[in-house]
Amino acid sequence: MNNLKKIEYSLKKRKRQESRFKIYGLLGIATAVTFLCIILSSIVMEGKKAFLSTYIKLEVYFDPDIIYTNNDQKEEDIKFANFQKIIKNSLNSFFPEISDKDELRKLSNFISSSEEENLMKLVLKNKQLVGQKITLWLLASSKIDVINKNPDMELIAEEDRLISDLELNWLNEIRSANNIKSNFNKNFFVKADSTEPEQAGIWGSLVGSFFTLFITLILSFPIAVAAGVFLEELAPKNKFTDFIEVNINNLAAVPSIIFGLLGLAIFLNVMHLPRSAPIVGGMVLALMTLPTIIIATRASLKAVPPSIREAAIGLGATKFQTVTHHVLPLSLPGILTGTIIGMSQALGESAPLLMIGMVAFIVDVPGSFLDSSTVLPVQIYLWKSTAARGFVELTAAGVMVLLSFLILMNGIAVFIRQKFEKKW
């Protein structure tokens, strides 16, 4: 009787233990999910603002006196014409009461300086415009854009605000005339870095990331697969191969900045490759990705049952044929999954690129593997460290772009694994 009670008592205790254990697990997951939600929602809340930019409607008069300064109506004249003055005059015609020089300069800061170039191109394309007055939607400068997107900023004290009370009054006048609108921010998707937030875009660094990852892929994939196949299928088991194996596993855990230092020492200082170029970045990241892919390759080769190898060899295939005809195709889904995960790791990496000069201000979208460029995470870092307020939302939007590429790549990896992986 006594024993039965003891057992009953201990059973209760063990069951309580189990339910506690479950609760701990649930708590762990709940905390992780909460933090993830907080991070993601704060990024999306901030970043979604960057996908819109503010435009101001103006009557632009292409004054021939300003454009054709030499009176000979040549293209040269248009190229060097003072379009800033044209914009200033257009703004002035909306606010005819302003005549103070200083105030006029403040007013002309409402419009992004990129519009000078755009107007110049417009006139170059259609010279008939000179002398005409047309209504255009011009891109607002970042300052106005930020105020327009965050109405609560108007309420803070004047000295703490980005724009003065006077400028705010002008903005409200433009608003009441219904001359302001928000539109899709195309610049963000077609331009590279800029010092003006409204002209900065993610495209340059996206192209840079693409070039860099391409180099990483074509270097690391064949090398890693060859190394993995050799170690797993062909190499004799001895102390030397054991040593290599230990080293590869160690390499996978080396902090990425070390690879950057290696890249600086070998690729830049010894081989004299250009600084800031995607080719060097790709090579550094390839070194970093190699162990990941080698380990994935070996794991998926190991997962192929020995019976398949034995059958192939039994039918007279050579080792080479066994590997290329049977083992490798069967393990390919696993290898590809590992490769994609290694690639997405490389996509999010910025520390090693610091050493080889890819953390830089680059305005031109790179056109080749040798052009200077940055990559996505570096662009995010650079925007984060810039003083101008408009970059806050660009930073968050950059994170969104990076995250969506990571999700896409990892999604492809999961898809390949689900779809093609064989279970024995």
Binding site: T195, M271, H272, R275, A360, F361, V363, D371, S372, A388
Partner: protein, 350 residues
């Protein structure tokens, strides 16, 4: 593995022969000059038809190190600096063949000490800054002997200051801001003690090491070459004081407020007139041998030194640069045009 590394080497060499020509200016250097140089570079790229220069923010010391590494397209053409080049660096440059450089001063910058808006209003003297941040502080009122800095609270340094722990977030030793801060704030505070001043004549080396070193026991926190990070840390910790350039103060007035140093706020007028004690000059250095090889260097220098950019109402002034006097600017514009050779001897005169 051997095969794979061979393949990498082969591929690298195949590309490296191609990479010798470069048609884009490469600039490195100070994080304080970076926001100004990027604006100039962008305008230059848009208007001149040359490629937009690539600019890296490496800190003044790091930039000069890269700059002095040698001649050739793999080395940068221009380095920005928030302090003057040191004679040690001039020597290193010439040892590597970089003998012909041009110095351009672009303007001034005040080093602000600021805390969060919600923090207390501070009025510091150079002496307070020295006593709070130096590695060794005077052990007697005259300053004849020193002891390791024992102060943990502001009111231990000066009873007029609040009873709050000393926490100062500032740039690392590679930064020009840090060099200038050591020289302009710490050393000048040090000189207020007669005993320390006397040491300068007796043993200059010891004086420099004692009067220019910042404590490493915690109250001074190094924040990396990222002034925005410092501002964010200040907002998160209202008790902390930050050290950064005027342009960052100007852009973040809604978040931080400056402390008075020797009774003066770091304001535009006070810095350009020299009234604010902790102000320094900003420079960039051009490698003259590159000017004939890399297209656009001369034009970039012309853009940067023009009145349009750094004159008293140039576009960099609205970004927070404090301009030079007009005659000084014109002189540097001329120097830039002629690529006047910088004479390292002027550094030894001091």
């Amino acid at each position: 593995m051997k095969k794979s590394s061979l393949a990498i080497v082969a591929l690298a060499f195949a590309f490296s022969t191609e990479s010798i020509a470069r048609d884009q200016i490469k600039i490195v250097g100070s994080s304080t000059v970076y926001p100004f140089a990027t604006v100039v570079a962008e305008r230059f790229g848009k208007t001149s038809g040359f490629k937009t220069p690539v600019i890296e923010s490496t800190g003044s010391g790091g930039g000069l190190k890269l700059f002095c590494k040698g001649l050739g397209t793999e080395h940068p053409d221009i380095t920005n600096a928030s302090r003057r080049i040191k004679s040690k660096e001039v020597k290193k440059c010439s040892k590597n063949g970089v003998t012909d450089i041009t110095e351009i001063k672009v303007g001034f910058d005040g080093i602000a000490m600021a805390n969060a808006k919600s923090g207390p209003m501070l009025e510091l003297s150079l002496k307070d800054i020295y006593l709070a941040l130096a590695k060794d502080v005077p052990a007697d009122p005259e300053g004849n002997t020193v002891k390791p800095n024992p102060y943990k609270m502001w009111n231990e340094v000066n009873p007029a200051l609040p009873a709050a722990p000393i926490v100062v977030i500032g740039p690392p030793p590679t930064s020009g801001t840090r060099d200038a801060f050591n020289e302009l704030a710490i050393e000048r505070g040090c000189k207020k003690f007669p005993g320390r001043k006397a040491l300068k004549k007796k043993d200059k080396k010891l004086y420099k090491s004692q009067c220019r070193s910042v404590r490493e026991d915690g109250p001074y926190v190094e924040a990396g070459e990222n002034d925005n990070l410092i501002i964010e840390k200040l907002v998160a910790d209202p008790g902390a004081l930050g050290v950064f350039g005027y342009s960052f103060l100007d852009q973040n007035r809604d978040k931080v407020k400056a402390a008075k140093v020797d009774g003066v706020f770091p304001e535009f007028e006070a810095i350009s007139s020299g009234k604010y004690p902790v102000s320094r000059s900003l420079f960039f250095y051009i490698k003259n041998a590159h000017a004939s090889v890399i297209p656009g260097i001369k034009e970039y220098v012309r853009e940067f030194t023009s009145a349009k950019a750094i004159g008293s109402d140039g576009y960099l002034v609205s970004k927070g640069l404090i301009p030079l006097g007009e005659s000084e600017r014109a002189q540097f514009e001329k120097d830039g045009k002629n690529l006047a050779k910088f004479d390292g001897k002027v550094l030894n005169k001091k």
